[in-house]
């Protein structure tokens, strides 16, 4: 028989006797409040950005998105230059980063011996840890001049007949910005792919190889098929990151006002233009136009992220069937 003196199970206060525990109610209340606050925060962000952009939305309407203009003298603005810059830099980054990321993930899960894989995996993660402003610093002072003096002339030598690679090499433009973005999204995409490949049930792979396929054929036929939705989600998440990057892009993209077909020419993106001009808007209309750019950026990022999450959820649900 224990003489505990305190029986935690016995009801204490009157409330408790009715089955309500004050501590629990308070705690749950606080937790609910926090969750409501988090949701409200999201709503508040959307509301604040849209309402600050409203004068421009009213003035220019949806046509703003495909109008190429940015003239504070005439107070006439349009987002096309920046939408183009954002889309082109991000998609080039995607094109370059996706095969690289998949290859790196494959290397780490299938090819490298464990002793080699661990440090290399760490190093790829460290690449993600580099703050974007430091990548931008390196971009302005080291990478940009190298692109201008070495990479772009070389590209022009081979492919100069394509308008994309025409024009004067420059250390600030679409190409250096796209390459910096590539460096940024490789760690994200490859980390997710690595998880995916590591989780592929190995009996599927073994079965394929037992039937006589080579390693690569097993990977291509089985692993990719299994992981395809996951890879798509990883790619989309990387894309979302690329869309939203403002600082490093601002440092190397050149701040141009109009669209130039050449990848060497200066350009500008949504995030970069906001970072450059928001604090110095010369008129209310310019200020709200810049916020309109922010709203467009928010929508693009949102859609990309939601689609990525939807793919992941459907992927997980169908996986449970296994």
């Amino acid at each position: 028989m224990t003489s505990v003196g305190y029986d935690p199970a016995a009801p204490g206060s009157g409330l408790e006797r009715r089955g309500i525990r004050l501590g629990d109610v308070l705690f749950q209340g606080v937790a609910v409040a926090a969750s409501v606050a988090a949701t409200a925060l999201l709503g508040l962000i959307a509301y604040q950005v849209v309402s600050d952009a409203w004068p421009a939305i009213q003035e220019f309407g949806l046509a703003f998105v495909w109008t190429e203009a940015w003239d504070p003298v005439k107070d006439s603005y349009g987002a096309l230059t920046f939408v183009y810059g954002t889309v082109v830099t991000s998609f080039i980054a995607l094109l370059l980063a996706t095969p690289l990321s998949i290859a790196i993930a494959l290397f780490l899960t299938e090819i490298a011996p464990r002793r080699v894989a661990a440090p290399i995996a760490t190093m790829v993660e460290l690449l993600a840890a580099i703050p974007s402003v430091v990548l931008g610093l390196w971009g302005i002072l080291v990478f940009g001049p190298w692109v201008r003096d070495t990479l772009e002339p070389w590209l022009q030598g081979f492919l100069g007949w394509i308008p994309l690679f025409s024009g004067e090499p420059s250390q600030a433009g679409m190409l250096p910005a796209a390459l910096v973005l590539t460096i940024m999204i490789i760690p994200i995409t490859s980390a997710i792919c690595r998880e995916l490949f590591a989780r592929t049930p190995h009996d599927l792979m073994d079965g394929a190889m037992a039937l006589g396929s080579t390693r690569w054929e097993a990977i291509r036929g089985v692993m990719f098929a299994y992981a395809a939705p996951g890879i798509a989600a990883a790619v989309l998440l990387g894309l979302g990151r690329a869309f939203g990057e403002a600082i490093a892009v601002n440092q190397v993209i050149g701040g141009a006002n109009s669209i130039d077909i050449s990848l060497f020419a200066p350009a500008d993106s949504l995030g970069s233009r906001i970072a450059a001009q928001y604090q110095g808007a010369t008129s209310q209309l310019q200020a709200s136009s810049i916020l309109y750019l922010g709203a467009i950026l928010m929508v693009i990022s949102l859609v990309t992220n939601v689609v990525a999450q939807a793919i992941v959820t459907r992927f997980e649900r169908s996986r449970r069937a296994y």
């Binding site: 003239d71 003298v73 001049p145 006002n257 450059a276 604090q279 110095g280 808007a281 209310q284 310019q286």
Partner: protein, 358 residues
């Protein structure tokens, strides 16, 4: 080595590094306190804006602290940000090389614009190994920034520089990507001398340049020019000198090629009326022939913007009064010319309007 042993080693390394970083921060705080500002402020004033005037404001900050103990915080973010900052009352004063437009004055809800310094916009370029200094004129500059002149050995430039071996390097015009009073002064000049420029681009702190590379701040444009052969930009003279950039001589109405120095600026303002009553009289780009043979055509006043009704009115008045009187002498080594008497009188009159929450 077992897993936990490896882990422990890693943890120890991480802890050591964390300790190192923490002690670094501690040193920073303690060491910094040791050499902290002398007499603690009687007040603080926060301002932002023009990068053009930043070299001079940098000189003023320690002097003001010495003179009467006010701590000035100033961040060079561009004239546009200065105007926006004081309008939104996120700072106590704003600095801008561009006077406020009627709409901006209305949005500011009771602000005065006071000229507090006078300097020139230099045109530095990057052409290493050239056998002399480049001469340019307004029309050529306008065409460069319009994109119709694209290389250094263009006939228009050759005509102005018969003795120079100009290479066929491409010209990269660099402009301010942020909202800049220097852009305002420069585009005002180009619009005055070139109708095409005036029509196509116009005058503002932020314009749609049809060609070139953008960079943030006076620092930014000077930096791009420094790193890019063939580049050219417009920036306060102090930045060109600080960064050892060669700047061009610009042809004035008298036909002479002039430099953005003390004499050039002094002659540029010589045609001001004896009694200055409004900011519009302070436009000194493209001065007339009567100004003098050495008049530099791209000179500009730079302004401080104060709310007439501020809790810090007394400190603001003291600060701006000091800058307009005793502060002027600190500008000479940086090619800032002391304000002419008529402009000083205008400044005092405007300053008297800053009253504060009565």
């Amino acid at each position: 080595m077992s897993h936990t042993q490896r882990e422990k080693k890693l943890m120890k390394k991480a802890l050591a590094l964390t300790l190192a970083l923490a002690s670094v921060v501690a040193i920073a705080v303690v060491g910094g306190r040791a050499e902290a500002a002398p007499a603690r402020a009687t007040g603080t004033l926060v301002g932002t804006g023009s990068t053009f005037v930043f070299p001079l404001v940098s000189k003023w900050i320690p002097e003001v602290a010495k003179a009467y103990g006010t701590d000035i915080t100033y961040s060079p973010t561009g004239s546009g940000a200065g105007i926006a900052g004081v309008t939104a009352r996120t700072v106590d004063f704003g600095a801008s090389d561009a006077p406020l437009s009627a709409q901006q004055l209305a949005d500011c809800k009771g602000c005065v614009v006071i000229p507090w310094a006078l300097a020139a916009v230099s045109i530095p370029y990057n052409l290493p190994g050239l056998n002399g200094r480049v001469h340019l004129n307004g029309q050529t500059l306008a065409n460069i920034y319009l994109g119709s002149i694209t290389s250094w050995n263009d006939p228009a430039i050759k005509k102005l520089n018969p003795k120079l071996d100009l290479p066929d390097t491409k010209i990269t015009p660099v402009y301010r990507s942020d909202s800049s009073g220097t852009t305002f002064a420069y585009t005002a000049y180009l619009s005055a001398v070139s109708q095409q420029f005036s029509r196509r681009v116009g005058t503002n702190t932020s314009v749609n340049f049809p060609t070139g590379v953008g960079a943030r701040g006076s620092s930014g444009v000077a930096g791009v020019v420094k790193n890019t052969p063939g580049a050219l930009t417009y920036v306060d003279a102090a930045y060109s000198i600080q960064n050892k950039l060669q700047f061009a001589t610009i042809q004035n109405r008298a036909g002479r090629f002039t430099t953005p120095g003390i004499r050039g600026i002094t002659q540029a303002v010589s045609q001001l009326p004896k009694n200055v009553t409004s900011l519009s009289q302070l436009k000194i780009v493209d001065p007339p022939k009567a100004a003098g043979p050495l008049a530099y055509p791209i000179s500009t006043f730079t302004y401080v913007i104060l709310p007439t009704n501020s809790a810090k009115a007394a400190e603001l008045r003291k600060f701006v009064y000091w800058t307009v009187t005793q502060g002027q002498k600190f500008g000479l080594p940086l090619f800032f010319v002391p304000l002419p008497t008529s402009v000083k009188a205008f400044a005092y009159r405007e300053l008297a309007k800053v009253k504060g929450a009565a």
